[in-house]
Every structure is written in structure tokens, then in C-alpha cells.
């Protein structure tokens, strides 16, 4: 914290800038709705009035940190990057939250996420657009809080555990074909379900083909590791509909043959052991009686042998 100094030419004072930038991020979360569209166009927007005049009535103590020497201040371009980071973060989080249930995070938010990813890469790559101070040093390596990193990693963790990359093309710019196929197939199945909503037995009959196809598609995706949380969730919901709500499970019909075969198998060892017991000859052991010294007389034996 000590290393974060007031921004250069802006006249913003000390760490107040820093803190305000964060407050701004928080503010965005609450206020900005259409974040996805805003982040690309507003890159060149001048500093917001909030940032320029940080001395809000609620933060009087911030004034205490007056002004740090010039060489420790954050350059303007870095502040700009910081702002962008905030905006894109908010956009991404917003998107994630709104597609939480049913899960559509990968389909809906990959653009927001990738632009957020870009700005982070920009900051952390260490290249500075102007001046000799890298933004990586001033923004990310200056304090133990490592806020940018933590924010970034929390989003990345969510992204990784959702396995979204598996549904996206290698450049992360669009959904893979198989994902799109799956979605269309899913819609087909769902519309079929809709059609027969009244009669479950008919539904089980008529939608079986599409549902089976969907299942097969899913299992091939599982095998190829080409599935993400969206697909997994959609499949889960569909399966639950199919099995639980519509009750299209396979009935247990073959109890009699299974019992018959099983009891036949279980009967075999009984016969086997019985026939062995009755017909096999019992193995007898021949006892051997060792020679023992029964009395002192046995000494004679040794004598006999050698005389």
C-alpha cells in the first residue's frame, strides 16, 4: 500500500485514487447493467468525475496521505487500464450471475470473459504504452493484497471449473460446432416434450428417438472431453424430466428368467459338493510312529548297531 502513490498529472491525491478506483468497481457491479456492450466502446472515455475528484464526504481520512514523490506514482495509462479492468470485470460477473440458472455461462459470457482476460493479460504482460514504469509493477506487485490478481483468479477458477474452454473454439471466439449441434438437438427434444406434455406414455414412445440421439451425442462429447457445464446441466435437466417427471424408465420385467438362471447356478455347487462327499474317496493319512527312548534300555540299540 505504501508504494501506491498519487497519480501523476491528474492531481489526484495519494492512495485515494487507488481506493476510489476500487470503489468504482464496486459501484459498477451495482449500477451497470449492460456491461457487455459498454466495455468495448468506452475505452477512450475520459476519467469519470468520481475519479477526478475523489474527496467524497465519506472519506475524509484519505486526505491524510498527502502526496507521494513523483517516481512512485501510478502513470496515467495504468490508471486507464485499471478502469478498463474494472469495467470488464463487472461486465463478466454480471453476465455470469444472470446466466446462473439454468446454467448458460459458457454460451452467454465467453465474449465478456475473453475481453476481461485480454485486459488482464495486457496489464500483467508488463509492457507499458508510455513511460518506463510498467503497469504490472505498479498495479499488481506493489502490495500484499494483490487485488487484481485475486479478482482475476477467482473468475478464472469459475471459468476453469465450468470447463467452458471445452465448448469453445481454440481461439475462444465462438462456440464449437458440436456444442451448437447439441443445443439444436436439445431444443428439438424439448419441443417434442412440449408436444406430448399431456400423455406421458406417448411421449415416452415418440420422443424416444430424439432423446436417445441427444443422449448419444452427450456421451460422445463426454468421451471426447468436449463438454462444458452448460451441456452437462442441460443434459441433467433433460434426463430428470425424462426419467422422473415423465417416468420413461425401463421397467424390470425379466425377474423370472433371472431368478431361474441364478438359482440354477446356485444349485450347481450344492450338487458338486454333495457328489464329491458321497462318491469321492476320503483321503486317509497313514500314521507313523517315531522311535522314542522309552527307557534307558534304548541305549542298547546304539550299542547293537555298532558292535
Amino acid at each position: 500500500m505504501s508504494a501506491v502513490t498519487g497519480a501523476g498529472g491528474g492531481g489526484a491525491r495519494g492512495s485515494a485514487v487507488w481506493w476510489t478506483a476500487l470503489a468504482l468497481i464496486g459501484g459498477f457491479v451495482l449500477s451497470v447493467r449492460a456491461a457487455e456492450e459498454s466495455d468495448s466502446g468506452d475505452a477512450a472515455r475520459p476519467l469519470s468525475p468520481l475519479l477526478a475528484e475523489p474527496s467524497g464526504p465519506g472519506l475524509p481520512s484519505l486526505h491524510l496521505a498527502a502526496k507521494f514523490p513523483d517516481d512512485l506514482e501510478v502513470s496515467e495509462s495504468c490508471v486507464e487500464m485499471l478502469r478498463l479492468f474494472g469495467e470488464r470485470y463487472v461486465a463478466a460477473v454480471n453476465c455470469l450471475v444472470s446466466s446462473a440458472r439454468p446454467v448458460r455461462v459458457c454460451q452467454n459470457c465467453y465474449q465478456a470473459y475473453s475481453s476481461f482476460n485480454d485486459i488482464y493479460t495486457n496489464i500483467s504482460s508488463g509492457q507499458t504504452q508510455s513511460g518506463n514504469v510498467s503497469c504490472q509493477d505498479s498495479l499488481m506487485r506493489s502490495d500484499r493484497l494483490m487485488l487484481l490478481f485475486n479478482l482475476y483468479s477467482s473468475l478464472t477458477d469459475i471459468w476453469t471449473s465450468a470447463l467452458c474452454t471445452q465448448c469453445l473454439t481454440p481461439d475462444q471466439k465462438s462456440l464449437t460446432n458440436s456444442t451448437l449441434d447439441f443445443i439444436s438437438y436439445l431444443n428439438k427434444s424439448l419441443s417434442c416434450f412440449e408436444k406430448y406434455q399431456e400423455n406421458h406414455t406417448e411421449l415416452c414412445m415418440d420422443c424416444k428417438a430424439t432423446y436417445k440421439g441427444l443422449n448419444e451425442m452427450y456421451s460422445t462429447m463426454l468421451k471426447n472431453k468436449g463438454y462444458c457445464i452448460d451441456i452437462e446441466d442441460a443434459m441433467n435437466v433433460t434426463r430428470r424430466l425424462w426419467s422422473k417427471k415423465f417416468g420413461c424408465t425401463v421397467p424390470r420385467e425379466e425377474t423370472v428368467p433371472v431368478i431361474a438362471v441364478s438359482s440354477f447356478m446356485l444349485f450347481l455347487p450344492v450338487i458338486f459338493y454333495l457328489s464329491n462327499f458321497l462318491h469321492s474317496e476320503q483321503k486317509k493319512r497313514k500314521l507313523i510312529h517315531p522311535k522314542r527312548a522309552k527307557s534307558n534300555h534304548s541305549l542298547m540299540n546304539i550299542q547293537d548297531k555298532f558292535s
Binding site: 510312529h289 527307557s295 555298532f306
Partner: protein, 792 residues
């Protein structure tokens, strides 16, 4: 004179024909023995009781008595190992010739051998693991596909038959190999290795052929879906590897690499075998320390500190060899963090906590394990007796194994079929074979995760699957069926271990125990996940069955990689052993007894101080003079009824009637080598150039000394004389006649003796104590009992 022993033929297999017993020529029925199969030795000792019965007049004498096989017999086919070094003149000469440097080299080669043992054992474990994984994968995929196909269209009974047939086919191949090629490879091999380390030479137990059959058999029986594990056989495999590598040659392959010749004797070989057993344990469980302690527990009487350290080295090498090669197989080369064939998986730090109030629960679990283990052993005991008595033909044994395999599949299938326990699976890995059957889509049959998998995987899923994966009914049914299946399976003529099935039974009821606990108590106490109780149950059940203590604790601690559970595991095993021992011995001891092995326990029976060497020993003893006629020696050695192995050498006082004084002990094997090389006094005189016999000549013949029949001695040579002075052990251990049995025992067992000469106060030979003379006394239910000797 006695016709009972005439049927002993000198056929085929070398080791079987020479029982170590010094006796059996004279048949005397003591009065007591005409009673039951076991007679009790009362306080009235047997010394003078039968003076009035002269053997020649005894009518029963000529009729050999036959009884059904039971556990109170000692078999004649087992010999003792010569752990005691024969310090004859040849030995002293060789020692004189050896430089300081060659002793150093010996020490280094011991280390090299231990490294090799570890390496090869690890490789074998790796091979078994990969082969089982592959074969089981093929089988389960096939059956799974079939079941999935027939679930909808009907015809699941065909899947059942397919499963049963596949199982039987695998098991048949394995059982055929064992029953027809090498019967000693049956079972886990731990009892056999225990006997070997105890000093009993079990015929063919450490041969290359045994190893091959064992490895092949294990792969077949595990892939065949029997309720068995591949861990026990690893110990046997390690021991065979050790016995082979340390000799620097293979008698079966007729290859002699001319290395490690110094180690060609029982003393050295047995040290290496203990290292091999340790390496086997270590490879099986990823537990190097546990392996060392296993060897310590089973063969501890002949240990020293340097040997311990070498054995530890072998264990470490073995576990890391396995690890390394498996990491390559799993395409993560160099990742050395999953040692052992069985991987219990790691217990997360959140779940490992246990509290003080859980200790009594663990102890209760230990007691349950002890009772269940004892039940297992009793059932298996009766089953084994039945098998020995009635199922002695190899084809019957193969059929039995196939039946068990088929029934295992049937029972598993029926359980899965009728189970209503459907659970969603969190992640489906390629290692699992989830079956859906009649469950809703996305859910799987919970019974199938336990039954439709190799036993090890089932253990792992019982330990680690999150709470709610199994419902109590599933676990209860699984425990019940698996208990009987495992009990039925152990003792079949297939190579297979009992560790994993025991762990599986225990893990199932342990998990059930944990589930019930959390059902009974509401809220206040937080019972951590049932995996912990599954582990304790597994420990209790295994401890109740095999009754190992220290080594098992360490093995389990190492296999789970978790020292936190050290105390509970120890308590559980302790309780299980105490409770189990109240009913019956451990499974391995039961089987050793049923094999009629002359096994020496740690101590002599407690109430045997009144027995003296005079009553224990065999007498009279066949002795040789220091310079003996060749004809006499050949006659004694060829006598089929007296298959003696050690002969006291005496000095006959000239022209006196007194028995000679003891001056040494010579072994049958030495005499045979001497006869083969024709070391006769006359020949030495006539041809001075004749090469002097060295210790090497004795080693070259080891361990399969030719039978006496293969040595031709001409009529002229029979008249020659043989001087035994150079070759006999000049200082055999002796005891006076009045020595008590425990005292004899204390000398005999820790020194690993094979013959102990009983002398009178003038150093005249009175009798000879051998392993069977000591092993026949044991403490039964009614006090001290004596075992019978029998041909088996």
C-alpha cells in the same frame, strides 16, 4: 521290519523323499496311542509306561493306522533348513584364503542383490497390475455393453450367463495352471513364506516355475472376478525372486551365471528371502516400512541390524520401481507419488480428524472385526478340511474354482439386478464401469459400483465416495454376500490373496457402521464422513482374519499415507486380535496347521517344563564312525524307512561295548557329495594328484542334491573307507538329557537348528532332537497335546 514305510518311493521330486525325522524304523505303539487320534500327555510321563509291551509281540504293529486328515498331524514331507553354519575344516580353510577385500565384496554384493530383488519384484508387481487392469477392463466393458444392450430389449439372463462364463473361463485357465503345474502356487503364499522364514523347507516353494504359475494364476483369478486380491501373492513372488537372484543361477533353466556363489546355502538364502518378502509387501501396499516389519514379525528369530537395513533398501527400491514404471504406463513419467499396487487414495485433511469420543467406537469396531474374522476363519477351516479330504484330484479342484467364479458372477448380478439403490455419480472416470440398469438416466446402480468392479476399486470407492453414495441396505447386503463369497474362495486352487477381500468386507460394514451412527444421532455431534469408519472397519476385519499386529498397522498407515490414524488403527487391530484369538487362530496359522507343517512358534507350550530332552528326542540314533566304511554309509542313506538327514559322528572306544563319544555331525547332503566325488581313503592314497574337495563342490550341488540312487558305488568301493573328519561339523550343539523342553526350544528356534544332539554325561550320543520332535507338542483345549506324524 515295518511295512508302513515301504510305500515311500524314491520317485521324482527331490526334496519330498527325505523327511527330517530321525526315526520311524521301529514301530512301537504306546498304550495311549491306541485311543483317539490325539493322546494327552498327563503328568504321568510316558517314560516307563510301556516296558511290558515288547514291540515284536504287539499285534497292531503290522497294521498301519489310517485316519482322516485333520489339523493335528505333522507331515513327513517337510524338511528343515540348515540355518546353522557347518564350521568344518573346509569352511575354515576357505575363510583363511579369503582376503579382507573379498569380504568387502561380499558385503557389496549383498546390497546389489537386495537392489535387484527390489527392482525385479517391483517389475513383477507392475506387470501384474497392468495385466489385471487390461483384462478386467476388457471383461467389464464386454459385459457392460451386453447389459446395456439387453436392459431395454430384454434378455438380461443372457448377460448373466455371459458374465458367469467369462469369469469361469478366466478362472479355469488360472486354476488349470495351478492344479496341474504347480500346486504349491495356490493361495496367497503367505503361509508358505511364513513357514520358509520359520525354517521349514516347503518343497518347490521358491522355484522359478512357482513364480511363473503364481503370476499367471493371480492375473487370471483377479481378472476372473473372484473375491480375491493380488497383494498376498506379491509376497510370495518377491520371495521367489529373492531366492532366485541371490543364487546367481537357475536350476530350472539350467543356467549358471557363476556369480554370488558364496550365497548358495540356506543361511544366506533365507536372509534374502526375507528381503524378498518385504519387497513384495512393499510393492503390494506401497509400504516399505510395513514390508520390513512384516519380515520382522514373521521371521524375526534370525535378524540383525545390517540385515534389517538391507531389507529396507530392497523394500524401498521395490516400491519406487513399481511407482516409476506405473507412472510411465499412466503417461505421467517421473511422477512418483502413487506407490503400491493398491492405492487407498488419500484421505483429505478435513476428514481425517477424529475425536476422543470416537475411540470407544473404534474399539467396538475392532471387537466386531475380531468376531467376524473368527467366524471367517472357522468357516474356512471346515471348508479346507473338506477340501483336503474329498477334493484331492486336480480336475475336481479346477471344477470347484470354476463353479465359485460362476456363482460369484451370479450372486453379484442378482444383487445388482434387484437393487433399488440409485445414486448420481459425480464424475465418471474410465476406471469405473457404472451400470445404469433400471435407474433413472444420469443415475447409476450403487450396488454395481461395489460388485461390478475389481475388488480394489470397490475398496477405494467405499473409502472415498462422499456420504450418501450407498444406502445402508446396499452395504448390508454387500457385506453379507461378500463375506461368504470371500470365505468360500480362500483355499481354492487358484493363486489369490485374502487381503483385499477382507478389506472390502470390513470397509463395507465399517461404512454401514458410520452411516448408522449418523442416523442414530441427530445434529449435535458431527460424525465425519463414513469413509473414516470404512477404513477402521477394513482394518478390524483384516486384523480379525490374519491377526497380524505391528506390520499390519504400519502397512495400513502407509497405504493410506496418513499417520493421524495410527492410534485408532492400532487400537482396532489390537482389539480385533484379542477378540479373535479367543475363538480361533489367524487364517494363516490355521492353514499352516492344516498343511501339517512342523512350524515352531515363538515359545514352547506353556506347561511343558516337565518334559525333558530324553522324552522329546528320537532314539536310537544312527551314527557313523569318524572313519566309516562306504558300504555302511550307502546302506544307511539308501534305507527308505530311515530318511535321516543328520548323522552324529562318533569315536568308538576301541573294543569296548560302550557307545561312542560324539565328535561331530554330518549331513546327508554332505555325504552324498562325498560319495559322488568318491572321497575315499584308499583313493587318496593311490592317487595323490586328486584334487582336494572344496566348499565350492558342496555349494554347486545346492539346493537340489542328487538322490542316493543316482550315485553308483561299485562292489569294490563299498569296501573302501571314508574319513569324515574334514567335512563334519566338529562342534554341533548338544544338550544333556535332563534339559527341559522350553530350554531345548530356546536353543533350537532362535539359532535355527536342524539337529540337536542329546548326550549323556560322558558325551555319548543318546538321541537327536529335530524340528518335528519339538513341533509335535502344542497346547490344545485340554492341556498339552501331541501331534501325530503322517505321510501326506
Amino acid at each position: 521290519m515295518a511295512n508302513i514305510t515301504k510305500k515311500v518311493s524314491w520317485s521324482g521330486r527331490g526334496e519330498e523323499r527325505t523327511p527330517l525325522l530321525n526315526g520311524s524304523e521301529e514301530v512301537r505303539y504306546s498304550r495311549q496311542s491306541s485311543g483317539g487320534s490325539v493322546f494327552h500327555i498327563g503328568r504321568l510321563s510316558t517314560v516307563d509306561l510301556d516296558e511290558d509291551i515288547t514291540p515284536e509281540e504287539d499285534p497292531v504293529r503290522s497294521k498301519p493306522k489310517e485316519i482322516p486328515h485333520n489339523e493335528k498331524l505333522l507331515s513327513l514331507k517337510y524338511e528343515s533348513l540348515d540355518y546353522d553354519n557347518s564350521e568344518n575344516q573346509l569352511f575354515l580353510e576357505e575363510e583363511r584364503r579369503m582376503s579382507h577385500m573379498s569380504f568387502r565384496c561380499l558385503e557389496i554384493s549383498r546390497w546389489v542383490i537386495c537392489g535387484l530383488i527390489g527392482f525385479l519384484t517391483g517389475l513383477i508387481a507392475c506387470f501384474i497390475d497392468i495385466a489385471v487392469e487390461y483384462l478386467a477392463g476388457v471383461k467389464y466393458d464386454l459385459v457392460k455393453e451386453n447389459i446395456e444392450k439387453f436392459t431395454e430389449v430384454g434378455g438380461l439372463s443372457i448377460s448373466l450367463i455371459l458374465w458367469a462364463v467369462l469369469n469361469s473361463a478366466f478362472v479355469m485357465v488360472g486354476a488349470l495352471a495351478v492344479a496341474f503345474f504347480e500346486p504349491v502356487a495356490a493361495g496367497s503364499g503367505i503361509p508358505q513364506i511364513k513357514c520358509y522364514l520359520n525354517g521349514v523347507k516347503v518343497p518347490r516353494v521358491v522355484r522359478l516355475k512357482t513364480l511363473l504359475v503364481k503370476v499367471f494364476g493371480v492375473i487370471c483369478s483377479v481378472a476372473g472376478g473372484l473375491a480375491v486380491g493380488k497383494e498376498g501373492p506379491m509376497i510370495h513372488s518377491g520371495a521367489v525372486v529373492a531366492a532366485g537372484v541371490s543364487q546367481g543361477r537357475s536350476t530350472s533353466l539350467k543356467r549358471d551365471f557363476k556369480i554370488f556363489e558364496y550365497f548358495r546355502r540356506d543361511t544366506e538364502k533365507r536372509d534374502f528371502v526375507s528381503a524378498g518378502a518385504a519387497a513384495g509387501v512393499s510393492a503390494a501396499f506401497g509400504a516399505p516400512v510395513g514390508g520390513v516389519l512384516f519380515s520382522l514379525e514373521e521371521g524375526a528369530s534370525f535378524w540383525n541390524q545390517m540385515l534389517t537395513w538391507r531389507i529396507f533398501f530392497a523394500s524401498m527400491v521395490s516400491t519406487f520401481t513399481l511407482n516409476f514404471f506405473l507412472s510411465i504406463y499412466h503417461k505421467k513419467p517421473g511422477e512418483l507419488s502413487s506407490p503400491g499396487l493398491i492405492n487407498f487414495g488419500r484421505f483429505d485433511m478435513d476428514n481425517v480428524q477424529y475425536s476422543l469420543y470416537e475411540i470407544p467406537l473404534f474399539i467396538i469396531m475392532g471387537a466386531i472385526g475380531g468376531v467376524l474374522g473368527a467366524l471367517f476363519n472357522v468357516l474356512n477351516y471346515w471348508l479346507t478340511i473338506f477340501r483336503i479330504r474329498y477334493m484331492h484330484r486336480p480336475c475336481l479342484q479346477v471344477m470347484e474354482a470354476m463353479l465359485v467364479a460362476a456363482v460369484t458372477a451370479t450372486v453379484s448380478f442378482a444383487m445388482i439386478y434387484f437393487s433399488n439403490d440409485c445414486q448420481p455419480l459425480e464424475t465418471v472416470t474410465s476406471e469405473d464401469y457404472p451400470l445404469q440398469l433400471f435407474c433413472a438416466d444420469g443415475e447409476y446402480n450403487a450396488m454395481a459400483t461395489a460388485f461390478f468392479n475389481t475388488p480394489e476399486r470397490s475398496v477405494r470407492s467405499l473409502f472415498h465416495n462422499p456420504p450418501g453414495t450407498y444406502n445402508p441396505l446396499t452395504l448390508g447386503l454387500f457385506t453379507l454376500t461378500y463375506f461368504f463369497l470371500a470365505c468360500w474362495t480362500y483355499g481354492l486352487t487358484v493363486s489369490a490373496g485374502v487381503f483385499i477381500p477382507s478389506l472390502l468386507i470390513g470397509a463395507a460394514w465399517g461404512r454401514l457402521f458410520g452411516l448408522l451412527l449418523s442416523l442414530m444421532t441427530t445434529g449435535k455431534l458431527v460424525w465425519a464422513d463414513p469413509g473414516k469408519y470404512a477404513l477402521m472397519g477394513a482394518a478390524a476385519q483384516l486384523g480379525g482374519i490374519v491377526r497380524m499386529t505391528l506390520s499390519l498397522t504400519v502397512i495400513l498407515v502407509e497405504a493410506t499415507g496418513n499417520v493421524t490414524y495410527g492410534l485408532p488403527i492400532m487400537l482396532v487391530l489390537l482389539t480385533a486380535k484379542i477378540v479373535g484369538d479367543y475363538f480361533i487362530e489367524g487364517l494363516y496359522d490355521v492353514h499352516i496347521k492344516l498343511q501339517s507343517v512342523p512350524f515352531l512358534h515363538w515359545e514352547a507350550p506353556a506347561t511343558s517344563h516337565w518334559l525333558t530332552a530324553r522324552e522329546v528326542m528320537s532314539s536310537p540314533v544312527t551314527c557313523f564312525n569318524r572313519v566309516e566304511k562306504v558300504g555302511t554309509i550307502v546302506d544307511v542313506l539308501s534305507n527308505t524307512s530311515t530318511n535321516h538327514n543328520g548323522f552324529p559322528v562318533i569315536i568308538q572306544a576301541a573294543a569296548s561295548e560302550e557307545p561312542g563319544k560324539l565328535c561331530g555331525l554330518i549331513l546327508r547332503s554332505q555325504l552324498i557329495v562325498l560319495l559322488k566325488h568318491k572321497v575315499f581313503v584308499e583313493r587318496a592314497r593311490s592317487r595323490l594328484s586328486q584334487r582336494k574337495l572344496q566348499l565350492k563342490d558342496f555349494r554347486d550341488a545346492y539346493p537340489r542334491f542328487p538322490p542316493i540312487q543316482s550315485i553308483h558305488v561299485s562292489q569294490d568301493e563299498r569296501e573302501c573307507m571314508m574319513d569324515l573328519t574334514e567335512f563334519m561339523n566338529p562342534t554341533p550343539y548338544t544338550v544333556p538329557q535332563e534339559t527341559s523342553l522350553p530350554r531345548v526350544f530356546k536353543l533350537f528356534r532362535p539359532l535355527g537348528l536342524r539337529h540337536l544332539v542329546v548326550v549323556d554325561d560322558e558325551n555319548r550320543v543318546v538321541g537327536l532332537v529335530t524340528r518335528k520332535d519339538l513341533a509335535r507338542y502344542h497346547l490344545g483345549k485340554h492341556g498339552l497335546e501331541e501331534l501325530h506324524l503322517a505321510h501326506t
